[in-house]
Symmetry: C2
Subunit: 335 residues, 2 copies
């Protein structure tokens, strides 16, 4: 059973998950990628994964067989386990809890070599829709307080399988980065009576220098204090706290923005690894007015620089590219 442990100084939780435990000498930075024929995410290999939770497939076609266009499965090596109680306890100054939670994989396409940047807008829309479906479902579990949807693309960004996929981890606690974000948003709202994300977006649309895409329902820009070169945020133009509040029309527009951003990044940077995360409102009733002050958004972080001692020691990032310059490159490229 994985275990959650809390650092008593920073209040930061870690997941100690020894499922894939190895002897020290086995630690390899680079894991070999599985051959195409044995990719567990390819059609025909459905039996290599746990039974599907959700799939987009022709009406009447049986689960866990080919024919699907998108498939959601439990992670075979989960960082957290869905079974069991939270079982919280203290050990002297330390706190721990059972590693209860969900860890799922969204196989975004049956095609082994199709990257999201080359996928059609309708494929991307389906991926975005599956995020929403899983969020709505996971929200029903009273043990869970937060769900992070994320994607690691490329080995340097932490992807262990090449076949295009996203991941979902639902947690029994609000993670620190999200708590800090909620705190910052609430502070701003308490003083200004406005959502800080809405204010940021308004300023960005007025200044224009960091805008990359501007559509009826969504906009994309390089954030003013970008941590990473070519970091891009995508968010709804209207105030929406929870991703599950997005309508089919919103996601249609989002898919267009998404596709354009990924294609622009690829045109400018070439094939490159990246991490993508989605931040949405917490499930937790300890954040009662969250819908007043929170605003869901995506963050795309190309893996072009190395995170090293300085970043670990300070939480500071050194970014060698001006966000305005990155935005200009991304805007000026022709699609």
């Amino acid at each position: 059973m994985p275990e959650l442990r809390k650092d008593p100084i920073l209040g930061r939780w870690v997941i100690i998950s020894t499922e894939r435990a190895a002897r020290p000498k086995d630690f390899k930075i680079q894991a070999p990628a599985p051959q195409r024929g044995t990719c567990p995410f390819c059609p025909g290999n459905e039996s290599m994964t746990p039974p599907e939770i959700l799939a987009y497939r022709p009406p009447g076609s049986p689960p866990d067989t080919p024919g699907w266009t998108l498939r959601v499965i439990p992670n075979k090596f989960p960082a957290l386990r869905i079974e069991g109680n939270l079982d919280r306890s203290g050990i002297g100054v330390y706190d721990r809890m059972n590693g209860v939670g969900a860890h799922e994989v969204i196989i975004e396409t049956p095609r082994h070599d199709l990257n999201l940047s080359q996928a059609s807008e309708s494929t991307i829309r389906d991926v975005l829709w599956s995020y929403r479906e899983r969020l709505v479902d996971l929200k029903k579990d009273p043990r869970l307080r937060y769900t992070l949807i994320f994607k690691n693309h490329g080995e340097a960004a932490g992807a262990s399988l090449e076949h295009s996929h996203s991941q979902i981890i639902a947690l029994p606690i609000i993670p620190q980065t999200v708590a800090l974000e909620l705190y910052g948003c609430k502070n701003f709202f308490d003083y200004h009576d406005r959502c800080i994300f809405c204010d940021i977006l308004e300023q960005e649309l007025e200044q224009e220098s960091r805008i990359i895409e501007n559509r009826p329902a969504t906009a994309a820009f390089t954030p003013y204090a970008s941590r990473f070169p070519f970091e891009v945020w995508i968010m709804p133009r209207k105030h929406l706290c929870g991703y599950e509040d997005a309508t089919a029309l919103d996601l249609e527009d989002l898919a267009r923005t998404f596709s354009a951003v990924l294609r622009r990044l690829e045109k400018v940077l070439g094939s490159h690894p990246y991490n993508l995360i989605m931040h949405t409102a917490a499930f937790d009733d300890r954040y009662p007015q969250t819908c007043d002050y929170y605003h869901w958004h995506f963050e795309i972080m190309p893996t072009l620089t190395r995170v090293a001692g300085f970043e670990w020691g300070t939480g500071f990032f050194i970014n060698p590219v001006l966000p305005e310059e990155a935005a200009r490159y991304l805007r000026e490229v022709s699609l």
Copy 2:
């Protein structure tokens, strides 16, 4: 001039430093290492670096010439610049400030291929002593509020030069990770009237399962909530808030602990990349009682796993190795 920018939601600062600006296509994850003959850190190549700030060399030998055993120089490509005023300003919801600060390099040894894990205890002691000297000096600059000393070893850990070196970055603000640590320590002290690091150390020495080294003045252990496999913390056994308060005797003992920990890690993991950071008390008078509640320490983080979307989105870490198991491996290896 580099620029400091603040994320208005998280209150997190970034350094936008375009000194080494490149066109997007130039971004390479792996920079080629310079050849030994042209290593700017090797004796004989002193003219390839800016003039030295400090050096341990025979009495009477002129600066910036061979003969030194340790050399501190300004970074040739600094993330921050020592000249100028802070020049703070706001742009709508955003805050910025000039990138004023110090960025120095400590060349730990004249030998190109000597790693700190193979260095003698006296070499390590000199490195630790140079940290102290630089801290005492940088503390005099009233514009600076915090100094981070860190080391990136190996390319995967972000080192761009092979020749063994540490780095120093002095900042005009307290970085977020340090502020959170100070806040956690102060909270604990306000309630318990004790230093949390002292309590942690007492519990670790009593439990023994995570202890690796235990000497008269210093101890080393794998922290209960280790973020990374084989993460190790080293700290003084007596309560000391600022690293510059360490005596020559303290650093003698620390050098022994340090050397043993690095050798143990290398025996267990083989040659491996790692990041090392040192956290000490802030210079800032906004933290008046910091010496009551803060406690300097080193954190060593082997680079064995990849940081990916989940970590960026949550601040959570997934660690596949039990800290007790890591400590056992490190303890049981024979030196």
